[in-house]
Every structure is written in structure tokens, then in C-alpha cells.
Symmetry: D2
Subunit: 467 residues, 4 copies
């Protein structure tokens, strides 16, 4: 992505979110980078001035777990990279880290190349974690290619037999190779035997309608798998990231590992912080079919407490743009595609229920949605903070307006949102990705192909050095 002329933008009069706190200052962007941060910065000729008075200015959101244009072989989401990232941009997201799946017969290099091809139309920046599904003993060195390609993180699954599932010996073997070669695995943790037994029992009892979805994948299945993965990662000497923790105990297990000196991190999602299993009681239960499922009432509060105290490094969406039609097709949890749209609502929800709700400070929010994913996933010191020299990935957020979530206002394809009707405080006023205004005043301003693939560096760890 090249720029013919050098853009200069001055974000003026906003309250800038820095690690140390909030401060009134202007932010000057030149070309694709932040140039300066200061008070009363002068306005040069040809400068685009964004009035941020009364607004918060944050580093662009990095949604580090999305599934844009997902094709599982059984189900296919309705978006493509243009529409998917357009929704992201409208929600203040300037980078997504999505997934490149290895299909049977592919090398890892081929898997990444194929996914890069698909993603050409992206309107914001993007990177990939790689779903390794077929790397028998002897082929571990291919993981080294991922480091070279700038995708040094592999997604592993303890469930979804036989497609994505890896058994314990395979998990240990791959994590050992990751440790050796400098990759960080991220793992979907659910005990496959337990899930299978639950589904078998529900099936035997004729109880597979949506309302039973919560029972089909019990919290214990998630927690056991997390404990096991942490054990194996420790044995492999490998850092590890636990995906979409849906219970407080999940996070506690990660915390304990960390206290014992292990390099372990985790993420949760807005759906686990804001919704619970009572959603499965009504006729709209299809809206909430995802894996892991929503949990007991009460869990969200406990998860929030862990997010507040910094125990959870990332909040991501696990965005999956299945349509209402796909999801409503049949009232059977075993036949409904699992996954919810959410990339566009990430920042507004986290601001509303986190910051406005008194649980988070703005610096904490910026850390969860931008600094931490940048540092954990190798985008630092290029993205993740509002500093001179960094990519000019910026969101201007007006904290005042009060609205309600409405699918009709959102830009994804699904035609529904699990958060329909929930109150929202504030709204994105502008999104700038690498210096380009991609969203402003309720209007998408980006362009297809405006985004770029970003190579991520290997194993930066938290907290890394700037220089």
C-alpha cells in the first residue's frame, strides 16, 4: 500500500490515552506515522484537522482473534475481507489478527499464502495466526517458516475431533517445537471426551435443542483442558496463550501458572463479560450458539473482576459472521454453526460496560484492546501506542452520546447482533489506520485493499522494550 502524497493530520484538543493516564494534548500525524504529541501544536498548511474536543483519543484497536470469511468445510460465514474489515474499521479496529487454516495436504507456507490471497480486499491492517492441523513427526521444522513469514503463532485445539483436534502427545510435540523455533501457540481449550459425552447424553435424551447448548460443553471441559495445556506448555518450555476464557476459573488457572513462573497469557470476549446462559432460555437462543457457550449467571461479574485486576491480557471478539438465517435453520445445537459477530461492537461495549461502568480506566482499556495485543503478538514497537514514530492507528471516541445497539446500524453481514438493544455510551467519531482516515462521522471512508498484511515478530513477550 503506497501513498502518493504525504498526508498530515492534526487531532486537536482531545484527551489522549497514555500508559500513565489521560492528558489533554494534540496529536500530529505525518504520512503513516505519528509525528508529535503536544499541547497547542501549530497547524501547518495542508493539514487535515480532526477536532477531538471532548473526545478520548486511543491507539487503534487490535482485535487479535477474528474469523473473517471463515469456511470450516461445513459452514461458511457470509462476509469477505472487504465487508468484514469495513465493519471493524467502523468500530475503531485498525488491525485484526485472523487465522490461516492449514488444509489437508498443504504445507504451512501454502496455508499462509492462500489466506493472504483471500485477504487482499482488507480495508485495515491484518495478520494471521496459523491453524496447524497436519504436521506429523518430522515436519516440525515447517514451523520455522511461520517465523520467517511473520505469522509466528499457531492455533491448536483440544477439541473438534477429527478436524482440528490434536491429542496430548501432538500438543506436546508441537509446543516443544514452538519453544525451540520461537512461536507462541494459542489454544482453544475444551476437553473433547467430555464434550462428546455430553452431546451423546443429550442426543440420547433427545435434548439437542438450542436451550441445551450450555450443557453440551460444560465449564469443566474448558477448565480441565486449560489446566492440561498449561501443564504441557510448561513441560515443553513454551509460552502459551489461552483463547476465549469463558469462566473465572479458567483465568485463575492461567494466573496460577503465571505465579509459578510460567509465561502464560489469556483472553476473554465481550460475550462472556456481558451475556450469560439465561440467553438460552428464550426463542432467540440461536443468537448465542458459540463455543465455548455462555456460562452461568454470575460468571460475567467474576470475569470482570479478573479483567479489572489485570489478570486477563486481551479482550478479543472471536468474531464469526454467520447469518441469522444460517443460525436459525434448525433448532438443534449439533447442527447450528457456532460463533457470533462482534468486531464492530468491541470498543463501544468495552467502553460502556468497562470505563463508563466504572470498572476500567481508559489506560486499562487501551492496554487490553491495543497495547497488550501489540506486545503479545509481535506488533510492537510499531503498533499499540500513541507515540511519535508509531503507526498512526488512532481512534477518536466521543464518550457522550447514549444509544442502543441495533443490528441495522452495524456493518457486518449477519443481520443480527447478540447485543441487540443494549445501551451504549459513546461512539467512534473517527478511525485512522496508518494515517488514513477510514471512518469518520458515521461514514466508512476507507477503501478496498487499503489494509496491509503486517508481519509480526517472534516471541516478544510482555512487556517488551521499545528500542
Amino acid at each position: 500500500m503506497k501513498q502518493a502524497t504525504t498526508l498530515t493530520t492534526l487531532i486537536q484538543g482531545g484527551t489522549i490515552t497514555l500508559p500513565e493516564g489521560m492528558m489533554e494534548a494534540d496529536l500530529l500525524v505525518q504520512g503513516e506515522r505519528i509525528k508529535a504529541i503536544g499541547r497547542g501544536l501549530p497547524i501547518a498548511h495542508d493539514t487535515l484537522v480532526v477536532d477531538a474536543a471532548g473526545c478520548y483519543v486511543l491507539p487503534g484497536v487490535i482485535d487479535a482473534h477474528t474469523h473473517i470469511a471463515l469456511d470450516t468445510g461445513i459452514y461458511r460465514t457470509d462476509d469477505d475481507w472487504f465487508t468484514g474489515t469495513r465493519a471493524a474499521a467502523c468500530g475503531g479496529v485498525t488491525t485484526v489478527i485472523d487465522f490461516a487454516a492449514q488444509f489437508p495436504g498443504q504445507t504451512l507456507r501454502e496455508a499462509v499464502a492462500a489466506r493472504q490471497e483471500e485477504a487482499q480486499g482488507a480495508t485495515i491492517d491484518y495478520g494471521f495466526h496459523v491453524m496447524v492441523t497436519d504436521l506429523p513427526p518430522g515436519r516440525e521444522a515447517e514451523l520455522g517458516d511461520l517465523v520467517e513469514l511473520g505469522t509466528p503463532s499457531v492455533k491448536l485445539y483440544t477439541t473438534y475431533r477429527p478436524n482440528y483436534y490434536a491429542d496430548d502427545a501432538t500438543l506436546l510435540r508441537l509446543m516443544s517445537a514452538c519453544a525451540r523455533l520461537g512461536l507462541r501457540p494459542l489454544v482453544h481449550c475444551e476437553n473433547d471426551d467430555m464434550v462428546a459425552a455430553q452431546i451423546a447424553a443429550l442426543t440420547a435424551a433427545g435434548e439437542t435443542s438450542w436451550q441445551h447448548h450450555g450443557q453440551s460443553r460444560p465449564p469443566l471441559a474448558e477448565q480441565e483442558a486449560i489446566q492440561r495445556i498449561l501443564f504441557l506448555a510448561d513441560a515443553a518450555g513454551c509460552p502459551v496463550h489461552i483463547c476465549h476464557c469463558s469462566t473465572a476459573r479458567s483465568v485463575d488457572l492461567v494466573l496460577k501458572a503465571r505465579a509459578d513462573g510460567q509465561e502464560a497469557s489469556c483472553e476473554t470476549c465481550p460475550q462472556y463479560l456481558l451475556l450469560d446462559h439465561t440467553a438460552y432460555a428464550g426463542p432467540e437462543a440461536w443468537r448465542f450458539i458459540l463455543q465455548p457457550p455462555l456460562r452461568e449467571a454470575g460468571e460475567p461479574e467474576q470475569l470482570w473482576a479478573l479483567v479489572e485486576k489485570g489478570a486477563v491480557e486481551l479482550v478479543v471478539t472471536d468474531h464469526c459472521d454467520y447469518t441469522a438465517t444460517q443460525k436459525q435453520a434448525v433448532d438443534d445445537l449439533t447442527r447450528t454453526p457456532g460463533g457470533l459477530p462482534g468486531v464492530e461492537t468491541l470498543l463501544p461495549l468495552m467502553f460502556t460496560y468497562g470505563v463508563a461502568g466504572g470498572r476500567l480506566t481508559m489506560p486499562q482499556l487501551a492496554r487490553l484492546l491495543s497495547t497488550n495485543p501489540a506486545q503479545l503478538w509481535g506488533l510492537w514497537p510499531r503498533k499499540g501506542a500513541l507515540l511519535p514514530g508509531f503507526d498512526a492507528d488512532i481512534v477518536v471516541y466521543d464518550p457522550e452520546p447514549e444509544t442502543a445497539v441495533a443490528a441495522g446500524q452495524l456493518h457486518h453481514q449477519a443481520g443480527y447482533t447478540p447485543y441487540e438493544g443494549m445501551t451504549i455510551r459513546g461512539q467512534v467519531r473517527a478511525t485512522i489506520c496508518r494515517g488514513h482516515l477510514v471512518y469518520c462521522e458515521s461514514e466508512f471512508r476507507g477503501r478496498e485493499g487499503g489494509g496491509a498484511f503486517v508481519k509480526r515478530s517472534s516471541l516478544p513477550g510482555l512487556p517488551p522494550k521499545l528500542a
Copy 2:
């Protein structure tokens, strides 16, 4: 087992092992029970006097994990219940807790009945843990039969697919039922995937000779399975006992669970305390093929330290009387029956390397070999201590003689011992089982069928009440 006349025996002048310490006193046995403990007890008419001067008097050893007359379907040990328990009696063992395996198609009740039939010839007392191999959802109530039958403990396996192996959902389901019905599971912990992967790798590399046995079942496979079982038992609200811990970390995991309030216990065996993987280097490696295998040099010392501090509740033998011929047949770890003879050497080895070696006090030894197994496995307040009213299960042990272990001197069928040539301090002078002298002055004095099946009570826990 009935007695025509009432036997009276006075064990005179020995040093009696009590929980509070050692004391000089006489022990009077009347019929099948201990009648009195005192100083200078008078000798009544018709009393058999056992001179215990200079000897330790201990409660009879309870070997809570043996495999007498084992038939796995593939291999069969060479002993029967007469010869197997004769060897035990000669080693100071007055009770064994062996296993009743459920064969395909059997109810649990049938499995116990069949094993009771086989055990008729026993010369000492015996009970059974029950290997549950086929109890699909809906049949859990059968576990209640085991409580009624006095065999309230089930043996579960995380390995040996497809025979004994239970998957995580099954383990959780059975342990939940155990918790509900009052049984205590004991579990053979090794991660089956990891073991299978190791054996596959060794097979692929043509490295299946005995010298590779240690590699075929790595410590991590044991430790991972223990951690998982503890997690599942905790979720099930079920007490759990971890079998034959071969590494210090195995015990540490149990300790940690206990510190977190879980009711968890464990055992180790003399082979893990006295031997290590260097045994696999020589041509006699066949002698040491067992599961889990012997571990790294250094592990034994660490395990001892844990035994000394009370972290390990039981020392058992996992006695398996395969013959030298069976074990030597082919130098292939995948085709050699795993298991070692040891019931007769348990007490002498533990006295020699524990007490004489300065690691254990006599009360600790009695606790490990008698009181703890009695209390844990429901034989209390009937066996496990030298108290008036208890079964007169007694060993008189002379601490002085120094000999060496020699297969030719032992009474099992295998024709070899893994401890050949090791120094032994002291020897059993007399073994009394329920008032009957079954071994004395190097001679077996018991009789076929002299032993009795002992019903064990349910879930006594440690420490239980006397009355």
C-alpha cells in the same frame, strides 16, 4: 475359617511399635484377637510363648496393591492364591488387597464373586479393589453393590487402551458415582496418548529392546495423568488414591491437591525407592520391565524424602509374579509382561533402607505398611494396630541379622527377584495372622485356605475414629 480351640499366645519381651513410639512390653493374644498389652504379663496355662527379646513387634503388614494369580488375557502370572499368599506370609504380610477384574459381560457383583472363588486357597487375609472396565451410563448404581460386598474401591486406568483405559468423561462419571455411593477410586495414571506416541516413535526407530523401556513411558505421561485425575476427582467431589507414584513430582502434585483441601492420597513401591533406570542398561534389563518404569537416577532419593516427611501414605508392592522365563522370552519392551514380584521383600527392604538407613522411625514404618492401609482402605478399627480387641495380625522382626536378597530363599514362583544381592538388615522371625502362627523361624506354618476374605468398610478416610 473356624478354630476348634482358643489359642493363647504371649509375645514376650519385644519392643512394641505404637503410634506414640516404641515401648518394651508383652502382647497377649487370645483366639483371633489381641487381648492385652502390658509389662510382665503373667503366662497362663496352655499359652504359646513367642520370645521377642531383642525384636520389634509390629502390626501385620497390609500390602494394599498386589496382583496374585493375574491373568491379563495376554499374560498369566505363575502363582496361585496358595503360593502367592505363602510368599506374603513369609515376608510378614498378613493381609493383601488384590484386584477383582470385571471381564466383558460381567456385572461387578459377578466379577467379585469369581475372584472370591479363585482366592479360596489363600493362607492370609485378603480383600479386593475392583477393576471396572465396562460400566456404561445408567449402570453406575452397580457401584453400590461393591459397598455392600465390602470391596468399596474401584481401580481405574488412564492407559492400556483399549482394555482398561477409561476416557476423561468416563473417569469423571465414575468418580462422581463413587463420591455419591461412598467408594474410593485408585488410579493408574499414565497419559495414554503420550505413551502410545513414544512407543510408536521407538517402534519406528527400531528401538524396542528392553534398554529403551524407560523412554517408552516418560515421567511426564505419569505426571500429566495425575494432575488430570486430581482435577477430575476434585470436580467429582470424590476422594482419590494415586497408585505407584514413581517420581517425586507425582507425589508433589498429590501434596498440593491435599494442601488445597482435596482428599487425595498416594502410594509408592520399593522398586521406585531402591532402583533406577540404570537397570535398563544391562543384559538383565528384563528383570525391571514394569509400568510405570524405573526412573532417572536421583528420583529415588527425592521420593524417599517425601516418604520421610509423610507425603506418601502407603508403600505397596504392585506384586506380579511373572516368571523369568516369561520375561526373558524376547528382548522387546512391547512384548514383555510388565510387573515384578515383591510381596515377600516389602518389609525387609523397607526396614533396611528405611529404618536401619536412618530415614524412618519404627512408628513411621508401621504407619506406612499397616496403619495407613488399614485406615485408608476400610480395615480399621479391626486391623492396622497392636491394640486390645484388634485382629491379632502381628510380625516379630529381628533387626540384627544381615543377609543378602536371594531369589532362592524367597517363596514366590518367578524364580528371580529384582533385588537380587541387595543387603538386608534383619528378618521376619514370626508372622501371626488372626491369632495363627503362619510363619516362624524360617518356616511357613500356615495352611491353604487359612486366610479369610475381609469386607472393607466404605470411605473411612484418614484418620478415622476407633469407636
Copy 3:
């Protein structure tokens, strides 16, 4: 104390309290020692038979903290060694460990000798802790004399300036010497500055009537001093015993020190388990003036919980036989002698509110009142358990009768009891001290001078070996 003829006593048909639990058995006493324990023991000629059917048989109570015939220079209790120990015997106490105070100018040896002289009339056995009040640098070696004299424990105070008070440097110096020479200090812990400030404030406010007693010595003063003493003892490498803990936090501090590897123990008293500061509200407040004072409502329950879980090693009385007249003289907390009578009610209260109240088992009770004090204070393996060869110190306790505490029924001099009117379950049926029946069927049967000074051994620690 010599016996002309050898007494033989058979305590028949009772339920004997052993460490492992309770059992029905007879107990045979010959001379001053226990001879045998057994079922259906024969009755020899000339044997005194004590019918213990329906009764518990316990090792004689050891009250390890009493102040018989105390003279502080300001106040003097009304008892002497005959009347004081007579009350003890009537309550099932067979040994007291009292105090020998060093008066100005005395060597420690002189202090012990003087106190031995005073104690000649004792009806039961007795030993002394030594209150060291004047041992300047250079005279530490005198502590070695105490080991030789069989009084190897020194009482230290952090309060009562200027008499008993020792400053931190002195405490550290003396505890270092104790560590070197093999003594165990026991410490009265209250921060003297804090107590003085409270009393000054109350005095300034004219609030020194009894109702303010609780405020005069706040819990924090006790807790701070305990934490400090534990710190100093740790620095000195010295075991330490914390006296009369009146709050749960006091015990928690000791527990934590123990968890950190320190050899620390503690005691509480019935008054802190059964009474609280509401006692200071009424006109009878004088009955409850003691140091430390009774605490907040709720504390007793928390203290009980710690006693139940074994965190408190001893329950003692801190018995002080000031008369009602002395205590009632003037309604001024600064002029009322502090201390309560209690040696005779120790066992009945602890049985009633401990065992009958469902908080303690009989073996726990025996441990708190007999085994632990014997082992901690060097009377083991001579006293503290019902074992052949041990001193025949025995209590027969009938659990059935239900009465109420009444000063008129008790044998001390004070003329009142702080427990007046409280329900009591059971009663002492017989007390035997070194083979002599000293109390039986509501009647004192001992004799003046029948007790003996017992030399205690040095630093046995818990748990010690029998032989």
C-alpha cells in the same frame, strides 16, 4: 513420696482414650505405674477395682500454667499448696506446672529452691517454669542450672513494667541463651507501651471502673507483642511458647510462624473460650478482671475453631486464687488483682463445651490436656498417656450427669467462680496420681505432701519419641 506396700488397681470396663481413638478395655495399675491395658484382664488378690463402666478413662490432666500461692508483692492469693492442689485433684488434674519467681537478689537456683520449699504440701505432682526477672549480661549461664534442676523453661513478660517486663534486647539475649542451653521460654505477650497509653487515657478520662477493663488492654497490644516475640525467637533460633492467647489472631500468628518452619506453640484458657467482654457490663465485672482481658463477643467461637483444628497445643487455666473480697474491694481496674480461679473446672468445662458440644473428640481432649503438655514441657515419656510403664496418672470421667457450676461445690479458696451457673456435662469419678487414688466419688482422698516435684527434661519438642 514413698509407698510402703505395692498398690494394685484395676480400672475395669471403661472406655479408654488412646491416640488412635476410644476403646473398651481394662487398665491395670501396679505401684506407681500402669502395668497393662487389655480386655477382660484378670483380677488378682488385693486389687482395688475401680468400676469404670460407662465412663471415659483419660490420662491425668496436666495444667501447665497455674499460679498457686501467688504473692506478687502487691496481692497474694488465698490458697496454699495443699488447698490449691486439692482443688486440682478434685478436678482430675494430676500435675500442675506452676511458677518459681526470681526475686531481687536471688540466683535462679535460689528461686527454684525457695519455691520447692513452699510446695511441700502439694497433694499431686508439680513442676515449675521460672520467672526470670534479673539476669543481666554475663549471668546467662545460670539458665543452665535450670536444665539441671529439671525446670528448663523460663517465663518472660513484655509487660508489667518495671517488675516482670523485659525490653526487646533483653528478650533477645535471654532467648538466645535459652536456645544455646536447651530451655524453652514461654511468654506473656502484651505491648507495654500500648497498655500504659490506654490506662493513661482511661485514667485521664476518669474511666477506670471495671467495665472499662477490656479497653485497658486491647487485643492489638497482645497481637503486636506476639508477632514481635515470634520474630525475636526466630532470630534467636529459639523455640517459644505463647501464653494464654485470647484472640484468634494471636493463634494465627503462631500458626504462620510454624508454617514458616519456626518451633512455636501456644495455649489458650477456658475463660477465653467460654466468656467474652459482655461480662464487663454488669455489676459482677470484678469476677472477670484478668490479663489479658476477655475479648469481643465472637472471639470465643473463632478460638474454638482453631482449637478444633489443632492450632492450639494446650488448654491451661492460668489459675489464680484471689478471693471475691480482694477482687471486689474497689471498682477500679487499676487496683483490682487480675486472675481467675479455674484449675478444678478445666476438665469438666472442656469436656462439656468441647466433647459434648461436638467440637472435640476424646483423643483430642486428652492431647490438649495431657499428652501435649507432657510432650512440650518434658514430662514425656513418663506422663501424658495411658501406656504400660507410664506413671499411673488417670482420670475416670462419667459423661452422663448434668449439673451446673457452683462455687460452693468447688474446693478452691476464692469463694467464687467466673463460670457460676454454667451447665456441666459429666463429672470426675476418680483421680489417680502416680497410682494413688486422690479423689473418688466426690471426696478428696489424697494427702498433704502426697505430690512430688517432677524434674522435666530439656527441649523435648513435639512429637517426641517414646524410647
Copy 4:
């Protein structure tokens, strides 16, 4: 301090120290504040350009524990506020927090006013902690005046009887009042009894020469007092800061309190990180007489480890400008004034042995020397970071030159330095205090009275919010 014209300064091309790491950028100062931070900032007319190429740019050092122009009544340091703060400025220090002592008869308000009068000549900014020596019960409300005066921190002592010493009851009372009124106490912790006993013993033995200084105030005296102060602060519900920790265990105690949820912080000094008690062996021992004394060889390494891991919040100097003549007067530790000069060497030593020595990153150094003291002591969000809007307190440090410490090159009055001859990496190139260049190119450029008293806000805690 008023400025006639508005100064504009551009610090160009340096490597700026930010919390997130280091970055190349320019820093623009306008008037007394930082205006902007950016890359390639334009140079306006009348701008003073400071070339920082190859240099680190840090927030000005805040030495939060100095004793400039100290008069204890017995000894008087040789500096005044001009000379003392000139030395500070030359060392990159832009603010000192010194002490205002309450003299007998003074109110706290008078004490602060008197000290403010003395400090008029300061060349850099300054604030005061207040040494409260005489505030009997009833006068606690005066502490509220300190909040109003901008000196909301009181210095307490557990030693130096009878001048500064406060007994435990007083400490508790004052800390309770601090908690109520919003002050943070900082405490000099040494057990006075222990110190007095050691000095008495040394005096009795005729061993008061300097070489015995280490023995006169043992580590245990410090550690005991810290543990006690933490206990009392916790009871008072009061945050607390522990001064000049000289041993690793001191810091560990603070760490543990913090882990238990207490708001506790601590500081150490270069002398405890770089020197040890071997300094007392030679004839120059007088150079190292201070309280607490230098500790065992080995302690410095352990203290460093704690500083590295963030357990120590501040590094301060405890600067005391006694002259060589005063200190050398008599070889008697009881008659030598305690305290070392050090304000000028703070930054160079910490850079050399911290950053260049591989123990600290630059952001850690900035946190220890500037951000943390600003946040802890209420100077935030005005001082402590290089952010637009903050006071332009800036140091430019050239990391390259290698020199040795030499008293002759330093600007304090003492005529000696305890670090004489030690290697130094780098040097201060420029110091800017509130926009004014006070030191540049080896020359002091400030002016008498150029510094200002800074009011500190109450109880900000760590980490505070920017706005």
C-alpha cells in the same frame, strides 16, 4: 519564581525515556512546561536548542530523602540551601524532598514555616516531610494543617531516644491520625532497645572505635522495627513508607505486607547498594558512619535483586553534608555524626551500576528516581514524567564518558565522598528545572532562589491517575 520572558527550548535528537521504553524524539519546552514530544520538531525563532544526540533524556531526578542544612542540635551540616541544591542540580536532581523538623514548643505549622524560610536560597524545587516530635494526645488535628500546607507526610522514628523516638502507642496513635487525615508517614526503623544494648555492650567492652560501627546497629534491629511498623500501620489502616532499607530482608518484609494487601512502600540508597561493612575495617571508616550502617558483604547484591524486580519503589540518598573534619574528629562511633553526602552522585551511580551494569533498563531507572517519588509523594501529575503539560524538569545524560568519582569534582561542602575513586559511566550534560537550564556542560547555571517550594497533594498512592 517568576520569568520575565517565555523561554523556548528544544532538546533535539535524544533518546527519550518513556514508561513503554526508549524512543528517538525531540522534546519541546515552552516556559516552565513541556510542550511537545515528537520526531523532527521544527525549530522556532528564539529557541534554545540543546543537542541531545547520543544522549538519554530523562525526567528530572527527585531525591525524596535529603537533609540539606541539617542541624540536629548536636551536629550541623556544612551546607546551606544554595550550596546544597547547587550540588543537586549538578547531579541532575531537579527536586528534593527534605525535612522540616518540629522543635520543642513549635506547632507543626510553625515548623514548616521556619523551614520554608531557611530554604529561600534553593536553586531547584523542594518540598518537605515533617518530623513530628511533640504531638501529644489531643493535638492530632494539627496533622491536617500539613495537608493544607502541601507537606502531607510525617517522618517518624523508632530510635534516637529521647529526641525523635516515638513509642509504639504514639506511633499507632499518629498513624491512625494520618490515616484519618490523609497523610503518609515515612519511618526510620531501628529497634531502640536493641541499638542501646549493643552500644552499651560495645562501650562496656571499650569497643566504640569506628570499626565497630556495623555491630552497634545490627540488621535485626532494623528488621524488627520494620515488621513492627508494618503491623502498626496495618492496624491503623494507614499507608506507610519504610526509609533507607539496608538489608534484603527489610524489603522482603515490605513485599510480604504488600502481598497481604497493605499499602506499604520502601526505599533504599546507593550506599546500601554499592558499599558494605568491609568499609569499616580501614582507617577511612569515618567516611561511612551513618544510620543504619553498611551491612555484610553480599547484602548489596541481594538488595539489587530486589530493586531489579521492582520491590523497592524509590532510590534516595539520605544526603547529609557533614564535613570530613566533623567526621574525623574522634575515632568513636558514639561521637561521630552519622550521614553521608550523595545527592550529586545519585544519578551517575545508579546509571553506572544499574543501567550500564545490566541490572536496570532506562525506564526502570526513571521510575525509581523520578516517576515513583512523584507519584508516591504527591507531585504527580506535575512532575515525574516527560509529558506535554508537565513541569519541564529534564536531565540530558551522556552515557559514554568514563570517569572516576572524585570529591574535588563535586559541588557539596563535605570535602569527601564515600564513593571516591569508583568508576562512573556517563555524565549529566544538562539539567533543566521548570524550563530553566540550571546545569550545562560542567557548569552550574542556576541562581540562588531559582527553586520553588512545591506543595504536594495528599495520599495519591501508586499508580495514580493523570487527570
